[in-house]
């Protein structure tokens, strides 16, 4: 799994392939500047860890926020 981070430290994407070599070919989204360290990827892959890739803020390789993204609640009758 690759986890992508933007200039503000916000994680804005991830990509994971089960086909050999494909993951290496995946590029970063245009709004990102890099990928997070493998230690964090391991946390995101841990089902018992409360961290989730999207919504986290990462600074210097460490998670400083695991709040949910500011996503509006969807209603059927807005």
């Amino acid at each position: 799994m690759k986890v992508f981070i933007n200039a503000e430290g916000k994680i804005v994407g991830s990509y994971e392939s089960n086909k050999s070599g494909v993951e290496d070919l995946a590029s970063m989204p245009e709004t990102t500047i890099g990928v997070v360290p493998q230690e964090l990827v391991d946390r995101f892959n841990d089902p018992f860890d409360e961290a989730h890739p999207l919504g986290c803020i990462v600074v210097d390789g460490n998670i400083i926020s695991i709040e949910s993204p500011d996503t509006e609640q969807i209603s059927t009758n807005k």
Partner: protein, 176 residues
Amino acid sequence: MGQTTPTDSSTIGGSIRTSQIVSDGVSNRVLLGYDKDGFGIGNDYGIKVSKSGYDVLTAADSNLILNSAFNILKIVATGTLLVTLPGSTGFISTQVAHGLGYTPLIVGFIPAGGSNYITTPFLQFDGTTGINIEQTRVEVDNTNVYLKLYAPVNGSSYASGFTRQTKYYLFQETAT
């Protein structure tokens, strides 16, 4: 695991035709290997798994959980993307190169609050005016996966910095 028994050990052309049957103690549930015409006329080899309570040797296709005679969607990659609306209205798109070299089938879901997810494309309408205030969808071509958010008019609670995210799946099966 229940008993495992061979069902056929005859020889053909010097090769031994064999299959293995696995029982759960009540019914034969798994067949692996030889089954005369079991996977279509002239197709004698494959894998079958039956539903609980059904004998894999006699079950109709509708009572099989798995039958290798039929193709299945195969997930080749999965990922997440997030977009942030630059203003209270507008269009924003982000993309990631998937590296597959072909146009795969795609399905995408977006969080609907709490633990609910909803399929894309997602359309939202103002409950009073009926005007479409949001379109969110995933797209894919032979190079990239896209998450696109379009907010043509200002929704009641949309604001700059509003985000949408998606969880998507790409399949080995192609779209063309």
